[in-house]
Symmetry: C2
């Protein structure tokens, strides 16, 4: 019985070209994270249900993959990387340095509505600095995120910054009631999407008078930089390329209720929504430790970054090709030894070289091999037939220009190395 | 309410040092795989239950993580990477080049008995060449696996090779019955572990006479290389370092019943069991395509490789340290700008540099910072106090030798670069 090959909706296969692009981004991120002293952390895909449930609100509990394992334990699949981080910080608190700076790049699972173009399995890339509350630690997260975007070749991006105290101070000084602010934060977060009128309408629906809605919007809009934001800005001045990209935006709210201080979002050209967002959340990480532990961090929208890089053509062109640089064809049973030796020579020079592994037909031995190189988009095909073997040289076919010439293996090695450098 | 921070048995957190070791191996593997033209593939963690069940025998179905998702679909977590590969080959057969050479490095989940030291979540690293049946494609898998071990600095390893036809031909020529062979293969696979007597006893328990058991064992032991093994050996002669490590071993059986031709296992010194094993399996990959598709591949025992490398001390020493090379301390509010600039200078030279992010105490500002560097095993600590600022130099503390000296940032950069090269 033949079973139909298919995958679950919201889940994806990544064939080589897509997988190479993903790996390209991950490699760049890791090297930037590590250059700032962030260390890798991996946590299990499955956790005890009680560790995860109730941490992401009602929606989170609904979207979480939860089940009973073979031992009748209630388990849940990783939903984000912040709650596992909180568990790790509590569980190993005597081993971890403070600040604990970690990065984590693992898949998470959410039973999202796939009709909205959302995925049910996707990679999260997080950095967090745990255990310190200095504006410098906030600023560093922003610098790292900016460095990632620069390293991925994004030229035009904007960093919007705000401080949750912009809202809380208005409550403290009596300008806006706590209840009003709860509605205002939700509405104002959509300012860019629905415009001023939209925000006011939304507040009117929440029983604000039109005048009061306008007043509250203006009260927020006219707020000035908090001390934290000033401190962060001061540090950012060390990075001239960043300075002009950074903007204080008092209407930036970010949905998650757990933020307690600085918040920020990165937007790149031609992409709606942010590619990275984060902030300070001093009351969350301590939940398993039973004490307050300050923290700041950010999360990259991995799929959005892939999409934006595709749209802006930022991936290196050779990622679309095979990882192989040279296909070494085999001309005949008698000559195959020559091909084996040549492929080994190329690899010794760190040039990715592939031998054709299929059957070699006596009549027209190269036909299938060239077709294979074409399909895999291998840039060079190397031919060692009787004539080449006799003269101790090789024929190189450039698959892009379709030109072909006789040369030596040493010359080809030099040429490829020159191109790569 | 405080929730106890704990993880499910058989699952693991990987704190920075462990995570760095894992990543070190994965990076090396990827680069070797790609140098031979193997391309990355990723498949979903969850598949339709019907795709996975029944493919791994009764034991597999029992150990598999299976559940009903929120949409009442029966789903199962990835159990290996071969069945997903078979699905991919069928699903995208018009897009994939033949041979399709892919590598895959993803976690799999099995509800194993943890008392036997087994994990329930572990990484598999597989390479497979699909669509060709040549001995050259078998040989290449062996060469790649050997190259991986060499790249990971294993000096002494052995490659045991056999051909499943060693067994099937004895059935075909009437020397051993099919039923006898089924028992013999299972028993003989344990020859190394339980010795000749053990194998014979096991066969006697299966109703062999003692004489017949000896005869069958000898019949197998005295088999000679098949043509495939001869062809593979011929190709391996191109790799002098491999030649003396390779051994034809007619008693090697490998448990999995799906192998159809060449099989092999890699053993490294001081480690029981194999760190890599594989072979040809021409009847498995086609299961979703409804036609026979030849394939050969191997799988690395990732956790075993980590353990063997730890035991043999093969990890580079600096993996035990932080990823950070230099901690740039902050002496005071007034001098912090100097530290910011210095850290940025180091990073521009691709030297991983970290600023201390905690509060700086006026009295004894360096105490906590040095403790942090010590705990994270950061090799160099850089101090810019009032004197250093005045003289435009820096103090460098070598945390291993505990020596300390005044120098310039340029000098430190040169020194670190020299060490790294």
């Amino acid at each position: 019985m033949k079973i139909e090959p298919k995958i679950l909706k919201g889940f994806r296969d990544f064939l080589p070209t897509a997988a190479r692009k993903r790996q390209f981004i991950i490699d760049k991120m890791r090297s930037v994270f590590e250059s700032f002293g962030f260390e890798p952390l991996e946590t299990p895909s499955l956790e005890y249900d009680e560790i995860l449930t109730g941490k992401y609100g009602e929606e989170g509990d609904q979207l979480m993959y939860r089940f009973e394992d073979n031992g009748k334990r209630k388990v849940a699949m990783r939903y984000d990387q912040t709650v596992p981080l909180a568990r790790v910080v509590a569980q190993y608190q005597n081993e971890l340095p403070i600040p604990f700076k970690r990065y984590q790049i693992q898949p998470v699972w959410r039973a999202e509505n796939t009709q909205k173009g959302r995925y049910r399995e996707f990679i999260q890339c997080d950095i967090d600095t745990v255990g310190v509350a200095t504006p410098l630690s906030d600023a560093e997260i922003i610098v790292v995120a900016a460095k990632i975007l620069e390293t991925l070749s994004f030229k035009n991006f904007t960093v919007l910054m705000n401080d949750r105290r912009v809202f809380s101070e208005l409550i403290e000084n009596g300008s806006v009631s706590k209840e009003e602010m709860d509605y205002a934060v939700v509405a104002i977060d959509k300012l860019k999407k629905i415009g001023e009128e939209g925000v006011i309408n939304e507040l009117v629906n929440k029983k604000f008078s039109k005048e009061r809605a306008k007043d509250v919007l203006d009260l927020i809009r006219n707020r000035e930089k908090t001390d934290t934001i000033k401190d962060i800005s001061l540090y950012l001045e060390n990075f001239p390329s960043l300075k002009e990209k950074t903007k204080f935006e008092p209407t930036l709210a970010r949905g998650l209720s757990y933020y307690t201080g600085a918040i920020f979002e990165f937007e790149v050209e031609d992409t709606t929504g942010s590619v990275c967002g984060g902030g300070r959340y001093d009351n969350l990480i301590g939940m398993f430790a039973g004490k307050q532990i300050p923290a700041v961090g950010c999360s990259f929208g991995f799929d959005r970054i892939v999409e934006a890089m595709d749209a802006l053509n930022l991936f290196p062109a050779n990622l679309a090709n095979s990882t192989t640089t040279v296909l070494v064809t085999i001309f005949s049973e008698e000559l195959k030894q020559k091909s084996f030796e040549t492929a080994a020579k190329l690899r010794k020079q760190n040039i990715s070289a592939e031998l054709y592994l299929g059957e070699i037909k006596e009549k027209n031995p190269l036909e299938k091999q060239l077709k294979y190189a074409n399909q895999k988009q291998i840039p060079y095909v190397l031919i060692i037939g009787p004539e080449e073997a006799r003269n101790n040289n090789i024929t190189v076919k450039d698959m892009q220009s379709h030109s072909q010439e006789k040369t030596t293996i040493e010359d080809l090695i030099n040429r490829i190395k020159k191109q790569e450098s």
